[in-house]
Amino acid sequence: MTTVAVSVAPRPGSPRRTPVASNAVVGMAIFIAAEVMFFAALAAAFTITRISAGGTWPPPGQPRLPVEATAANTAVLLASGIAMVIAGRRSAVHAARSTSALGLALALGAAFVALQGYEWVGLLREGLTMRSGPHGSFFYLIVGAHALHAVAGIIALAVAFARARSGRLAQTYLAGARLYWCFVVLLWPALYWRVYL
């Protein structure tokens, strides 16, 4: 039995049927579903705490969140998402054509994280910290969790950008990265509505 069947399998797991969606997209979609549940739980926990606190939110004496500046920043992130969708469309025609749109998505995404960090510095100066009560704890937890996801997405975009420039960008990689980035982008307005408004 040791001599049989050693020659099979050019690539492990290579499908012998035509899948509805590629492995990368299916795997990423499942991962995103789990992530959605993660953020839903954070938002639900925050909502419960906020309701049980009663009265006004943020609690009296706590700093006000930069609602307007973050609204502008939300637009930056959405623009990045649109650029990413365009990159996906273009790469369907030719992989090299997606480079500029990818670069734009990357720059806008990085700008979003940088502006968020700038706002955090201001809030910390005003005395809003993780330990200053549920308001600060939940703010940094939820927005921080999103920021970590955004940073991961930016790294994926940077890799895609570098590969596109050198002409080595695989369609499956781009499809997975695009799906993930769309998740990060579309998640943000929901969190903004829940946490800031």
Binding site: V6, G13, P15, R16, V26, A34, A45, M130, R131
Partner: protein, 572 residues
């Protein structure tokens, strides 16, 4: 690493520790799970001895202190669920069986698969490390309710509780990666011709369980991050004095914790149904019904969690709703048990060891299910809450799942895993000792629980109304039975390792089963099949009238004389 072994074809490290082969990874999970099971069993031995024969030194452990007792109980539960039931039922069987049973050569993400096991191994090591830090292992029960778990001044384990939480979180990451792999592989890599309804039940069950796990684990990870911050960064998410809410953890924990029961139950049920069909030589009764009820169970399992919190101060109107959903979920589970009985009915039953385990699962799980009705009803639960009745109830579900069904699976697929047959005589001896002893552990505990034994008591001699001899004798009986059950596992280990070297050589299909894994040689080589199979019929075509053989492998091409076009259709 590979340099040292460059002169070999494949070095030992590369082949067994750094492999991306799904079978090796499955075995890694299996052996890690078995090691952890020994540890969990040892913990149970130590604290059962303290309960049965209080305040005497335990042979092989020494005197059990109250803090050690708490850590032993907590980590027994944690290990048995997260490091035994999950890795063996889902990861080991899932990894080993999925590519073989759907007829492909490996998982779609083999390197992610390897990463999954490596993270799992790290999580086990972190948990083991937590026993040796100052203050000892975490002792706040496997449910880790705050404030006991969130503040060191209550738990007395400043480092142990954080390491425990970290280990659990890492373990979830490992299974998240594994689950993505399982579902994607089954979706995209099935053999040509294998339609949804040609997938064996056990594969469906592992897939549904993975989906349920991945959908429920996010909230617990969110809760765990918050708990970790409460422990280490001074936040107050669960601290009512600072505007937090301790009940919040219970919701997040049980929103995962109850689906988790079905995450381990469904694969166990799948194994049992698989074994019962093969050893009854009969088609699974109502295959599609099993499938749809499994999905229904998965969905319903997300709406029962608050039955763990009936006395935690939740709104009684909410308790009513959760009573209804809880009793409702027993319907699909009962339906699956009836399916196994209906499959047995009129079959040509062969009572080999795997079949004994499978039938025992049905009998013992039934007891666990029936006693759950008292606990699911919010009224009677007020009395039973946190007693040994609860403990006996969930052991009557978890032992059949994590022990009995696992043994059914191991004894059934052992020839495929190792290419040898297990010793039947030793197997049956091990079976009877384990199952009889199991009942002698937990039936007495139903009685002590109904008499008022609280779960978290270290020393009953301090409670005059519970220290009565008739109750203490039952506790001692349960302890002795625990020792017998654990000792019986020596027979299994002997059989397991001895047969690996000197058991009778197994042919490719020793049980005359239909599913694709039996087409591959035993044990399957790298790449699994000499020629990747094509599927022509459903997995349970046993005793088909008009055929000489009483089985009909899924990959056998249709016979020409019997209307070639109609054959695959009629088989469904």
């Amino acid at each position: 690493m590979s340099d040292a072994h460059a002169h070999h074809d494949e070095g030992w490290v590369k082949k067994y520790l750094w492999s991306t082969d799904h079978k090796i990874i499955g075995m890694q999970y299996l052996f890690t799970g078995m090691l952890m099971a020994l540890l969990g069993g040892y913990f149970a031995y130590a604290f059962r001895m303290q309960l049965g024969f209080p305040n005497q030194p335990v042979p092989g452990f020494g005197l059990v202190s109250p803090n050690e007792y708490n850590a032993l109980v907590t980590n027994h539960g944690t290990i048995m669920i997260f490091w035994v039931a999950m890795p063996v039922l889902i990861a080991a069987f899932g990894n080993f069986l999925i590519p073989l049973m759907i007829g492909c050569d490996d998982m779609v993400f083999p390197r992610l698969n390897r990463l999954s096991y490596q993270i799992f191994l790290v999580s086990a090591l972190v948990l083991l490390a937590s026993f040796f830090v100052p203050g000892g292992g975490f002792g706040g029960a496997w449910t880790a309710y705050p404030p006991l778990s969130s503040q060191a001044k209550f738990s007395l384990t400043p480092a142990g509780s954080t390491l425990w939480l970290l280990a659990v979180a890492l373990e979830f990451v490992a299974f998240l990666i594994g689950g993505i792999n399982f579902v994607t592989t089954v979706m995209n890599s099935r053999a040509p011709g294998m339609k949804w309804h040609d997938i064996p039940v056990v594969i469906w069950m592992i897939v549904i369980a993975s989906i349920v796990f991945m959908a429920s684990v996010g909230p617990l990870v969110a809760g765990a991050v918050m708990l970790l911050m409460d422990q280490q960064f001074g936040t107050g998410f669960y601290d009512p004095i600072r505007g937090g809410d301790p009940i919040l953890w219970q919701h997040l924990f049980w929103f995962f914790g109850h689906p988790e029961v079905y995450v381990v139950l469904l694969p166990a049920m799948g194994i049992v149904i698989e074994v019962i069909a093969v050893f009854s030589r009969k088609k699974v009764f109502a295959y599609k019904m099993v499938l749809y009820t499994a999905f229904a169970t998965g969905i319903l399992s997300f709406f029962v969690w608050a039955h763990h919190q009936f006395v935690a101060g939740i709104d009684p109107r909410m308790a009513n709703v959760f009573t209804v959903t809880t009793l409702l979920i027993s319907v699909p589970i009962a339906e699956m048990l009836f399916v196994t009985i209906a499959t047995l009915y009129g079959g040509s039953i062969r009572l080999d060891t795997p079949m004994l385990w499978a039938v025992a699962f049905v009998a013992e799980f039934l007891l666990g299910g029936v006693t759950g009705i008292y606990l699911g009803s919010s009224g009677s639960d007020i009395y039973f809450h946190d007693t040994y009745f609860v403990l006996a109830h969930f052991h009557y579900t978890f032992v059949p799942i994590a022990i009995i069904a696992v043994f059914a699976g191991i004894t059934y697929w052992y020839p495929k895993m190792f290419g040898r047959m297990l010793d039947e005589r030793l197997g049956k001896l091990h079976f009877w000792l384990t199952v009889i002893a199991f009942n002698f552990i937990f039936i007495p505990l139903f009685i002590t629980g109904a008499a008022g034994d609280h779960r978290r008591i270290y020393d009953y001699t301090k409670f005059p109304d519970l220290a009565r001899p008739e109750l203490q004798n039952l506790r001692a009986l349960a302890t002795v039975a625990t020792v017998v059950m654990l000792s019986a596992q020596v027979i299994f280990l002997y059989n397991f390792f001895k047969s690996m070297r000197s058991g009778k050589r197994a042919e490719a299909n020793p049980w005359q089963a239909n599913t694709l894994e039996w087409l591959a040689p035993s044990p399957p080589p790298h790449g699994n099949f000499a020629e990747l199979p094509t599927v022509h019929r459903g997995p349970y075509e046993y005793s088909v009238p008009g055929r000489d053989l009483d089985y009909w492998p899924q990959s056998d091409p249709p016979e020409d004389d019997a209307a070639p076009d109609a054959a695959p259709e009629a088989a469904r």
